[in-house]
């Protein structure tokens, strides 16, 4: 059924639909209003992607209850069971250390979507893997910085930028692990 693997974009859309059923227009607004809005999907990308998810049996258009007749022309999608399973599987996808820098934004999206899908331990495990991957990437950058035979300054400065940014990322992960580890999710 679900033949080829999904695009990153499709995975994000599926995740958003899993968080709460939504129409294409809702999703568009979501991208526009959240800090995720660094990327504004076009209609030509959004609607075909949703149709692909539907074709693969991962989402389905909800029956529009209530008005029955009116409020037409609106396709609100909800995940199927296969869709929920695919989403969970995506959330559990191990972090590839070799591409952690490229995929960092995507990992952050996954982190957000984990909140109500994962146990605290699972989240901590994810953050631990993320920290490891970031540390490895930083170590790699440091090796580049250790071999500066050229007389140019800008390449080294750009490298410093990468180091500063990914160290901030790593520190963030550490801080979140500490916060989640100590704070009980108890209450209620």
């Amino acid at each position: 059924m679900a033949a080829h693997q999904l695009t990153a974009f499709e995975h994000v859309l599926l995740g958003l639909v899993c968080l709460s059923p939504a129409s294409g227009y809702d999703l568009k607004r979501t991208f526009a209003s959240t800090p995720m809005g660094v990327y504004q999907p076009s209609s030509g990308a959004l609607y075909p992607a949703l149709r692909r998810l539907e074709t693969k049996g991962l989402v389905r258009a909800m029956a529009l209850d209530g008005a029955g007749e009116s409020a037409r022309r609106r396709r609100v999608y909800e995940p199927t069971e296969a869709g929920s399973a695919a989403h969970m599987s995506w959330l559990r996808t191990p972090i590839e250390p070799s591409t952690v820098a490229r995929d960092l934004g995507l990992h952050l999206v996954r982190f957000v979507m984990m909140e109500h899908a994962f146990s605290r331990d699972e989240v901590l495990g994810f953050l631990h893997d993320l920290s490891d991957a970031l540390a490895a990437f930083i170590a790699q950058l440091e090796q580049h910085a250790a071999v500066p035979p050229v007389g140019d300054r800008h390449p080294l400065l750009a490298l410093d930028h990468g180091l500063a940014v990914y160290r901030a990322s790593l520190e963030w992960a550490g801080g979140v692990m500490a916060a989640l580890g100590t704070a009980p999710n108890a209450s209620s």
Copy 2:
């Protein structure tokens, strides 16, 4: 002649060729060996892109001097005058504050390529604009953080990540401005 504007990838290739003449394979190795290697261009992207640059009259295949007969099968590109001009124009492209986060990596590449093409004042101007754009983006993120009516924690934590990362970026820009501003490029 140079009809439509170039892809980011094409601009980077042109910039590399402007730094020093290179063949497609050389460029591939450049991506593989430098910290820029978060992106590994495939042959199917690299060679057609170079041909497009050639078609647009921005680069030309150098005549292979020396061996004449041997060392065939190698197309070493050098920039044409139109290519050098296009590259300088790209380096001078103003920073779009609305997309500074998305384009940050590209701006870093531009910063590296500016070293031998810009005066110190031009570089400082670029860094100043970059700082402004980053500060504006950070302020925007802070506004998002100021309106947390939901009970979820992860979205706010992800926002903290963005703040930490872009603040690091902003601090880097400030540090580089200070370093370049005080240090004389004199010597020699």
